[in-house]
């Protein structure tokens, strides 16, 4: 079993490589290990590449090239970072280079969370009457546990949620996909996107708030 050494967390904990189970198989050039790695990362890498290049077709090319580079670079992977971090570094370098070839400055996606403040919930949902519970809910949100939650988990709702994700502004979408769909920890997302943890949190907050708000409107329908 390969021993991977990592930078300790600020509180001294060693982070666990989420892909540690694949590393031996990858070193053995096993198709199943590579297939699993592709299943885990092709989509997220395509989304990340798309931040740096002008089209999804070019993003796909960049990711295909990255996989070749990963395969050839694996013998040099020493486990000093996680496999994910190592792969994403390769990806980002390639995406940026390709982006520069395509006159990057004109269209690169900004992940800056500055700009208009978005309210998590529209203001009218709260009372403004200073004499009685200002800032309190006018009407309570409904609990989604039980029946509503089961309905939401069903396939058609999953499809709707996927569409809702694509309606999000791109910066919010990439953060919520990597954090909440892919389950990447905040640290990995900040590294992958080269954004501060505060910026990441604002984008995550806005994305989740929007999704909840639309889901609430839909959940109240039949």
């Amino acid at each position: 079993m390969s021993r991977a050494a990592f930078q300790p967390e600020p509180d001294g904990r060693q982070p666990i490589d989420p892909d540690a189970g694949l590393i031996d198989g990858l070193r053995e050039r096993e198709e199943s290990a590579f297939g699993e790695l592709v299943a885990r990362y092709h989509g997220p890498m395509r989304r990340i590449a798309a931040l740096h290049v002008p089209s999804s077709a070019i993003a796909e090319e960049v990711v295909q090239d990255t996989w070749i580079a990963i395969l050839h670079g694996l013998p040099r992977f020493e486990g000093r970072s996680s496999l994910r971090t190592w792969m994403l570094r390769i990806l980002t370098n390639r995406a940026r280079s390709r982006g520069e070839l395509e006159a990057r400055a004109k269209w690169v996606t900004s992940l800056d969370a500055e700009g208009d403040r978005e309210a998590a919930v529209e203001s009218g949902r709260f009372s403004d009457d200073p004499s009685s519970w200002p800032g309190h809910w006018r009407a309570h949100p409904r609990s989604w546990h039980g029946e509503v939650e089961e309905r939401i988990l069903r396939t058609e709702w999953q499809a709707r949620l996927r569409n809702l994700l694509e309606d999000l502004p791109v910066a919010q979408r990439i953060v919520v996909v990597l954090r909440d769909v892919e389950g990447w920890p905040a640290r990995d997302v900040c590294l992958a996107l080269d954004i501060s943890s505060g910026n990441q949190r604002v984008l995550l907050h806005r994305a989740r708030s929007r999704l909840r708000s639309v889901l609430e409107a839909r959940a109240d329908e039949a």
Binding site: G35, A39, H136, S143, E149, I152, H205, S209, L215
Partner: protein, 87 residues
Amino acid sequence: MRPKPIVAPGRLSCRELVELITDYLEDALPHPMRERFEQHLRGCEGCFAYLDQMRVLLSVLGHLREEWIAEPARGRLLDALAEWKRS
């Protein structure tokens, strides 16, 4: 019937709470604010339901399965893998 909360100075309003919810779930609230947050939750059905909705959302997002890679692309990668194995 649960009494409605009184919004006293220094206490959180619901409008403020919904803006703090991500920081709360991320464990990024400083301790005193976290206390105020949880105290509000204990007394407010509306915000309790809101947190519940947010948790259901996260659960559904975690269950999303995506088809990440189209067949032609997958084929190219498997070819690349076969070549790599031969090298």
